[in-house]
């Protein structure tokens, strides 16, 4: 899962990106409103974390420009402005959640995961697919009731698949959630990661749909 972080304060952006990467997310950082607006409009993200007080273009207008362009990615506003009037403004502009600085990283991560889950159409925090279980609140996978140990890349691919379980997920969509914006994409690496995942949860669960992508399935269908 790839997150867009739009935050102009260097130290905070750095700490936040580090903390999010610890939680397996791929993170793209934009240091000003213009860059943020451009990235959010042109790339596909699972969610965006948007500061309001940004140089060049303020957060609210970035958010409005995304919504006007039909970008539906879930957006969490992160701001030092705590007034309820500002919060209402933010929600009216199309925000999905709001967090005031300072915040606990667990809180932020929990809220991001919840936003991504709800935007994929899952009401409850637990998503099951056969013997595989995903706790969308804590971000952990269980296989046969046992915690599944995954690398970041494996987690990003698997979470992408389970959020759209029983549906074909295009290769391109997975790749977009896999790599950070400045990483060099090796298109063969997706096959490698899927191969490793298959060894952990069984071959049958991840179907290859030739020419399109992959499908996570419980197998009985």
């Amino acid at each position: 899962m790839r997150i867009l972080l739009v935050e102009d304060d260097g130290p905070l952006a750095e700490s936040l990106a580090k903390a999010l990467r610890n939680e397996q997310f791929a993170v793209d950082v934009a240091a000003d409103g213009e860059t943020g607006a451009h990235l959010g409009a042109s790339e596909t993200y699972a969610a965006a974390i948007l500061d309001l007080g940004l140089p060049k273009q303020d957060g609210l207008s970035v958010l409005k420009s995304w919504r006007e362009q039909g970008r539906v990615l879930p957006v969490l506003i992160l701001t030092a402005r705590y007034g309820w009037s500002e919060k209402v403004e933010g929600f009216k502009a199309g925000a999905d959640d709001y967090l005031t600085k300072p915040f606990r990283i667990e809180e932020l991560v929990m809220r991001i995961r919840a936003l991504v889950r709800r935007s994929a159409g899952h009401a409850g925090p637990r998503i099951a697919c056969g013997r595989l279980n995903y706790d969308a609140q804590l971000g952990g996978f269980e296989f046969d009731g046992m915690p599944l140990r995954l690398t970041s890349f494996e987690w990003r691919v698997l979470s992408c698949l389970i959020l759209r379980k029983e549906n074909v997920v295009e290769r391109m969509d997975i790749l977009e959630q896999l790599y950070e914006g400045d990483a060099s994409v090796d298109s063969n690496s997706l096959e490698v990661i899927v191969g490793r995942l298959r060894r952990k949860i069984g071959h049958a669960m991840i179907e290859t749909v030739r020419g399109r992508g992959y499908r996570l399935t419980a197998g009985e269908a």
Binding site: S15, K18, A80, G83, Y98, P102, R104
Partner: protein
């Protein structure tokens, strides 16, 4: 002097003063003119008689009674008019009973008085003067009066010496003549004065009406029914109204600026605080969590004091009147997203026409904090009810959470009390809401909800419906 503190009083007082002075001067002038007129008309009668009497005086000073004629009042017996002729050869006098004695009436020293002596010319008109009559005699005219009599006399030089011809009229004749003319004139002057006074009052009423209208306009601004003085004003007041509106703009700008400063300050403090909190969350940095608690305290204090600082200044004129329902609707949308995980059911029972007199941001702050608190504690339902109660709008927020004990309810309204160790937020929400409510002449009460949870009752001044 209270009268001098009002424009109306000043104008009325000065107008009255000027009118009175003008009326007094006018009546003095008219009186003296009439006086002169009356004297002249009596003088004319007297001089005519003197001219007739002069015919009885011969060039050698002899007096011939047969040549004497009387005209006008002198011819009427009992009119009180009288004459005498005194010369070196004798004395003639009118048949009427008369106290006229020129010697007594014209004391000898009078002749020595210089011309223009006040006593000799106090009524104006020809007094001591020399004139040549139609008969060729040179006459020296002189006037004088006794207590009851006014007379005029002429000295005629004859070969044997001066002859004095005197004709007189009772004083009341002149006085009555003057009074008869004076009475209606003074009366009309008085009517004029009263008329002017009434006109002045009417003028003031009319002229000061825009000021009263301006005061009403300002009262509406203060009551929040309108934000600026927009009614058309007479040209003299346009400058005042423009200045007033500029002042109101300025106030609003100052508030906006202060809020922006506070916002910037919050941003400047909270962003590094957020970084600090993230760094501390890294493994091994803050094992006991005590530093995180400190950060929470700092954050709470910033939130509280900045929240206080950004509130609309107390007593600022013209808290706008704002509809309650749309703002609550917006807040409910925001809160249902913030607390999306709990899927809270909101019940909103708020009539659409309820309006409160309150700064909109402050209202958002109060209702937002209260609803947020309710959402944090609710098991699944939050009920919002608002009713008008006299001059107040009473907003009641119920949740179905665990509620608060009486002691906890008291503690909850003290700034900085953390009742919720597990829940995020630092216990400032309720106390900020209470402070803001009191700032707006409202109140905040915590009690137990019939649903078992907490009931918060927020009362705010209802806006006066026009």
């Amino acid at each position: 002097m209270r009268a001098l503190n009002s424009i109306r009083g000043r104008l009325l007082l000065s107008g009255m003063l000027f009118t009175a002075v003008a009326v007094v001067i006018a009546s003095l002038t008219v009186t003296s003119a009439l006086d002169r007129f009356a004297r002249r008309s009596v003088d004319a009668s007297l001089e005519a008689q003197i001219a007739l009497l002069s015919k009885a005086v011969g060039a050698d000073g002899t007096l011939t009674r047969d040549r004497i004629e009387s005209v006008g009042p002198f011819a009427r017996p009992g009119s009180g008019w009288a004459w005498t002729i005194t010369g070196p050869t004798g004395k003639l006098q009118s048949p009427t009973v008369t106290p006229l004695d020129p010697k007594a009436a014209l004391p000898p020293e009078r002749r020595d008085r210089p011309k223009g002596d006040p006593r000799g010319s106090d009524a104006g008109g020809p007094r001591d003067d020399d004139r040549r009559g139609r008969d060729g005699h040179r006459r020296r005219f002189r006037s004088g009066e006794t207590e009851t009599f006014y007379f005029r006399s002429a000295g005629i030089d004859t070969t044997t010496g001066p002859v004095t011809v005197t004709a007189g009229a009772p004083r009341y004749v002149r006085d009555r003549m003057r009074e008869q003319a004076l009475k209606p004139l003074l009366l009309s002057l008085a009517v004029l004065g009263v008329g002017l006074l009434l006109a002045m009052i009417a003028q003031l009423e009319l002229g000061l009406r825009p000021l009263r209208r301006l005061a009403q306009s300002l009262a509406r601004v203060r009551a929040g029914e309108q934000s600026r003085v927009t009614d058309p004003q007479p040209s003299e007041l346009t400058a005042v109204v423009t200045e007033l509106n500029v002042l109101l703009d300025h106030n609003e700008e100052a508030l906006a600026k202060a809020r922006a400063h506070v916002s910037n300050l919050a941003h400047g403090l909270k962003t590094p605080l957020a970084t600090l909190s993230l760094r501390l969350a890294e493994p091994g940095r803050d094992p006991g969590g005590s530093l995180a608690t400190l950060i929470a305290q700092i954050d709470g204090a910033i939130g509280h004091h900045l929240g206080r600082a950004r509130a609309a200044s107390p007593g600022a004129p013209g808290q706008p009147s704002i509809p309650l329902r749309p703002r609550l609707d917006d807040l409910v949308v925001a809160l249902s997203r913030i607390h999306a995980a709990k899927a809270i059911g909101f019940t909103l029972d708020v009539p659409a026409d309820l309006q409160v007199n309150c700064d909109p941001q402050d209202l958002d702050e109060m209702a937002g904090n209260l609803l947020d608190n309710a959402c944090k504690w609710a098991a699944g339902a939050v009920q919002i009810t608002a009713r008008k109660d006299g001059r107040l709008v009473v907003l009641t927020i119920d949740d179905d959470g665990p509620g608060l004990s009486e002691a906890a309810a008291v503690a909850a309204l003290v700034p900085g009390q953390r009742l919720d160790e597990q829940q995020q937020g630092h216990g400032f929400g309720l106390s900020i809401a209470r402070e803001l409510a009191e700032l707006h002449d409202g109140s905040l009460v915590l009690t137990r909800s019939p649903q078992g949870g907490l009931r918060v009752i927020l009362s705010l001044p209802a806006s006066v419906q026009p």
